[in-house]
Amino acid sequence: MPRNVINDFVVKFANVNGSGSASANQLFAKSILRMGIPIASRNIFPSNIQGLPTWFEVRVSGEGHLGRRGGVDLMVAMNPQTWDRDIAEIDAGGYLLYDSTRPMPASRFRDDIQVIGIPLTQICNASTTDARQRQLLKNIMYVGALSALLGIEPEVIEQLLAEQYKGKEKLAKPNRDAFHRGRDWALKNLQCPLSLQLQRADAVGDRIYVEGNAAAALGAVYGGATVCAWYPITPSTSLAEAFERHCRRFRTDPDTGKKRYAIVQAEDELASIGVVIGAAWNGARAFTATSGPGISLMQEFVGLAYFAEIPAVIFDVQRAGPSTGMPTRTQQSDLLSAAYASHGDTKHVVLLPEDPRECFDFGASSFDLADRLQTPVFVLLDLDIGMNDWLCEPFAWDDSRRMDRGKVMTAEELEAGKTFGRYLDMDGDGIPFRTYPGTHPQKGAFFTRGTSRDRFAKYTEVGAAYVDNMQRLLKKFDTAKRLVPHPVERHASQPTRTGVIYYGSSSAAMKEALSALEADGIHLDALRIRAFPFHDDVLDFIARHDRVFVVEQNRDAQLRSLIMTEGNVDPARLIPILHYDGTPITARFIRAAIADRASAMQVVPIGAAAE
């Protein structure tokens, strides 16, 4: 009998897409949270609506690790199609829970795992005749069995069901019954609990459990966005849909029922960004949500917005490329195409949230930044943050906060004779004033074009005017450095000359890897980058360390390239740690990769290898 493991294991559900397993799995995950135990959950799903395999993984971590761990301690194998690989994935000594209604030959199992058979279909069929109900309730039934096997408090499940089916007792009852049927069967027929056990804790606090896309969309609502134009693309679709949901709730005029927002599902990504730029040019806060292929299609427009200095917010929920690539797998592979989007000399503000809380924060502040800087702002999520529920700090808002609309000259100012030059730098920060169309009968109108104009927006193709403008744009980008979210540094417990840089969804795995590495005797100062252009602290951090690992989820070390190019950093000092198979990066991976490089590095005296 293996020793008991409390609040530290991985349960994986193998299901068939479209079988209604998602809500049962959600119920399972939330019940653990309600017991005060942190979890990290992930959907692993194909590009398909019905029929193909889908997995849901719950990492229970009393210590609060939110990255993917890797490995499986308990597999709930509900999909015959993926049976063999699911069985193979279980860690030695782990458990397999399966529907034993149909007998399986011994050859389909493994000797080094413990098998739990429950005749789910049989129990279910005995209790209901409706085919769809059978399918759905079977899922709830395995949650019931798991509650007995792992120690989920049944009151917690009952409470969650009551909340879910509030006022709909007709729906609540069959679910409750199915839960108890599964639980009772397990208590009666199986040895409960297993060695994997849940014990009520107090480690969740007031944190919330939410997906990044919904959080970013809520950020857009709080950021004052009124126009959303988008084209459906996985994994960003749920961001636009969440915006619509939030808006229906918060932006419907109570008196007239009219909408204080406009959402256009455009014909393609080109039109989406065109609508955004048109709306923002005209003084509305506007955004689009897309993924890598959409970013490719928007390139020309993004350049126009950069040169014509029009605010725009682009949420890019990154996935593995290309269009026919792995649309349901995660990556951080759009960093360079966002940072340098378009033709000509362009560079853009890019925000890099680590979790849904920052998706909300950056989602809201991206509109202030876009207006203040009069330029496109990218918010780079990825599938892992965007489409999975994460445990994160609750959303917070200061009611005294007001939208920063940036430098917009009003009719009164124009009337009073204030100088208006659309591309004139009045304050030395590289940011000119703009006017909204229709502001004043005689003053403040200008003709918007890419470049080929002077500081007063008059047409010219004179080289000096072009250079003057390009230099001002650089100055503006320098101003952006100070306005974007600053990096966050975490010091090692001992002084060290080695550092690590990471960002976005790698954050959770990185935190866990840092403590593990520390236990291994590898001490690293860590810097989480939260935006491009890089704050001076980023280059300062690199300067303070001999070697800096750069951890990211793409093949070509895109952040490393960006740092090298923008900071003029010696490539030898930046060591890439790259994970790009489409699954979320794990602490195990980072720990092994860094330990491997670190031990190799120790062969050479510190400092000598850089020469």
């Binding site: 126009v227 134009a229 204080r260 065109g274 048109g278 709306a279 959303f395 005689q442 109108a445 918007t448």
Partner: protein, 351 residues
């Protein structure tokens, strides 16, 4: 093209409109197009139409894509904001601008390359989305700025300046606009200002997607023998369906017409579109008949012009979306930001 900047001074007796503006107040920068370009005539017609309607210039937003036609918004309404955007993408930029502020007038100017080739999709979708706009295509059947390639509206069999013959079928933008639900569709000719000015006026007063396909000969690359978009060819084959007068409610009707000769359409804002019939049987409120007529006369070699279709009671994108009356770009924090208390409720539901 004129090389001398026009003096700001003008004759003191130049007529003024209701706002006290002369036509000169509706002009823009000096055109950089070729002398005799049809596009300059269209710019002049836009100036005339806006002046006659007493439109406040700063309440117009001029949008365009890329190409000779798309340069023209710089040459009229100098007191309006203008946006020379991306090739073929004017419609999406205009749509966004319109969403942000439903109170301005949106004038989209495009060309046949801009709207029938690279921007065919955006043209089509802005029409079917019913954006309240005046969308003018300055149609010369040729790529002028890149020196004489056929465009997608070049007629099959039309000859290029260099002698090669177009073998591809032409796109009839007015026909497409009709099919996709434009509620005001006209075709005109830059050489017929008397026809064009009222058509632009009617479009500007139309509270829905108004589309004008304006044939506009390119003197540099498509005005030769064998072209079907030359001044001579268009004059010879022009078949006007009607002659439009736009009457703002307060004007009295002075001319006498024989019964059956005139048809009046009252628009939502009270303006009256009076159509002098040039074709007895043509009914411009019948979309299907208009489409049929267009195809039939095209097969007969005619270029049908005039007000081809009008829906006097159209709906636009804002009505479809159900947006508030106050322009979205004027909504403040109180109207847009739900606040901390609402957020706390959201947090509670996520635990």
């Amino acid at each position: 093209m004129s090389f001398l900047p026009k003096p700001k001074l003008h004759h003191p007796k130049l007529p003024v409109n209701e706002l006290g503006f002369t036509r000169r107040d509706y002009e823009g920068a000096i055109s950089t197009l070729c002398a005799g370009c049809g596009h300059d005539s269209i710019s002049a017609a836009i100036i005339q139409a806006c002046w006659e309607l007493s439109i406040e210039p700063h309440r117009v937003a001029k949008m365009s894509g890329i190409g000779c036609s798309s340069k023209t918004p710089d040459y009229f309404l100098g007191a309006s904001h203008g946006f020379n955007s991306v090739h073929g993408r004017m419609p999406s930029v205009l749509t966004g601008a319109n969403l942000a502020n439903r109170e301005l007038l949106y004038l989209g100017v495009s060309g046949d390359g801009d709207s029938a080739s690279i921007g065919f999709g955006q043209f089509a979708h802005s029409i079917r989305r019913a954006v309240n706009m005046t969308y003018i295509v300055e149609n010369n059947g040729v790529y002028g700025l890149t020196k004489g390639q056929f465009s997608a509206t070049s007629d099959k069999g039309s000859k290029a300046k260099k002698g090669n013959v177009n073998t591809d079928e032409a796109i009839d933008l007015a026909g497409i606009a009709l099919q996709l639900g434009a509620t005001y569709v006209a075709r005109s000719f830059s050489g017929d200002k008397a026809q064009l000015v009222p058509l632009i006026k009617g479009a500007l007063r139309h509270p829905g997607p108004a589309f004008i396909d304006c044939i506009s000969p390119c003197v540099a690359f498509n005005n030769h023998e064998g072209s079907t978009k030359s001044y001579d060819f268009v004059r010879e084959h022009n078949e006007a369906m009607n002659q439009l007068d736009v009457i703002l409610g307060r004007e009295t009707i002075t001319a006498d017409y024989a019964p059956g000769e005139v048809r009046e359409v009252t628009q939502h804002d009270g303006s009256i579109l009076r159509l002098r019939k040039l074709h007895e049987e043509y009914d411009p409120t019948d979309r299907v008949a208009a489409m049929h007529h267009l195809h039939e006369r095209k097969a007969a070699g005619e270029i049908v012009t005039g007000l081809l279709f009008i829906d006097p009671d159209p709906q636009d994108l804002h009505e479809h979306l159900g947006t508030v009356e106050l322009p979205l770009n004027r909504l403040n924090d109180a109207a847009l930001v739900p606040g901390a208390a609402a957020l706390e409720k959201i947090n509670a539901a996520l635990r």
